[in-house]
Structure formats: C-alpha cells, structure tokens
C-alpha cells in the first residue's frame, strides 16, 4: 500500500470538516482512485466536485495521473484572492 495526503481548502475543507486526509491506496493507484476514496468517505463534498480543481504535488492536472507513495493531492475550489 502507498500513502497519499489529500489537502482540502476553503469550502472543501469546511464541508469535509477537516483540511487533511491520509489515504492508503494500492500500488498503481491514480488520481481518480484517490478521489473515489475521498468521495466515499465525505459525501458532504458532493455538490462541490464539479467546481474543484485538482493539483498533484503542487501542479494542476487535468489528467488522471498516476500517484506515488508520499504524494500530495490538493482539492482547490474556485479561487478568490486579491
């Protein structure tokens, strides 16, 4: 098994009730596998998923990238800095 950290921000953090989720995933897991695991545990996030961007190790990704042990996924609601 490999460990992946999922970070949640703003509305996502608030709805899930926590900012960090540690996932244990089978080797070879990809981004969609991690997201599937988060969805299963946190149904309160459902309305947000269509609006979330996903970053892997600090880089936005639209692909279903493969994950590595120790990787970091971030769930990013629409941004409103400034």
């Amino acid at each position: 098994m490999m460990t992946v950290t999922v970070l949640l921000f703003a509305q996502a953090r608030e709805r899930a009730g926590l900012g960090t989720i540690l996932l244990e995933l089978p080797p070879g897991s990809r981004v969609t596998d991690a997201i599937g695991a988060v969805r299963a545990r946190h149904p309160a996030l459902e309305p947000l998923w269509p609006h979330l961007a996903v970053a892997v190790n600090g880089e936005l990704t639209a692909d279903d990238a493969p994950l590595a042990h120790g990787g970091e996924i971030a769930l990013l609601p629409p941004v409103s800095g400034g």
């Binding site: 921000f9 961007a53 970053a55 971030a74 609601p77 629409p78 941004v79 400034g82």
Partner: protein, 148 residues
Amino acid sequence: MAELVDAPIDTERLRREAAQPACGAVVLFLGTTRDHHDGRRVTGLAYEAYRPMAVTALAAIERGAAERFEIATCAIVHRLGEVPIAEASVAVVVAAAHRGAAFDACRWAMDELKRTVPIWKRELFADGDAAWVAGTPLTPAAPAGDAV
C-alpha cells in the same frame, strides 16, 4: 520576491525596494478590505491559501509581467488570515522606465492573481455570518510548448 505574509503588508518597504535609478515610474496597487458587499455590511475578510502553490503562482505572475511588458520589476505580496477594513490584502508594485508599461503590467498582474493563485477569501459580515466569495475555477496551464 513573491511573498505571503500573516501581518500587515509593509507597503513603504515595497515602494522603497521598487525605486530604481533606471526607472521613471512606479505603480503600486493595493487591494483593501471594503466595508460592504452587495448591500451587506462587512467587518473583515479572512484569507487562506495553498501556500507553496500560491507562492509559486505569484512568482510566475511576477516573471510573466516582466516578459510581457517593458518593466524592470514586479513584486507581489498577499496577506493571509483576517484583514480588517481598509487594510491591504494584496500589494503589487511595478517599476518601469515609462508609466504606460507600469500601469499595464500592474493591472495585468492583478487580473492574473485573481485567476491563477490558490487563495480564497471569506467575507465576515456584521451580523456574525460569513461566506466564501464566489471565485474563478483554476484551470491547468496550456502545455509548455505554447508558452512565450
């Protein structure tokens, strides 16, 4: 120079560091907390960020500004945590030989910041309520081959 701070932004330091012998123009933009939004009284804003990615994104804007406009420097500082009314949540300072490029670059940097930097703001209302401000979805950058 891209920076996230948890205390009031030192705009005077930014201005001082931007002034350069070769430059004839400095433009400083400050985004400040307004006391109202859509008719409701606001008492403050609270910001959070995905810090490492936000710093990287701010630095990319600074570099992008220097590539796109005839400027000497662009520096951006964003404050996180609670920002009281009339205080600055963000400062962008640009120095250039001529003012047109300085204004253009400063404006462009703010537009980019609102579009590409993982920072979120929550409005704190006078009635005790609070709400996340509707934002702009992040989208992955175009492939590297398309870059300038």
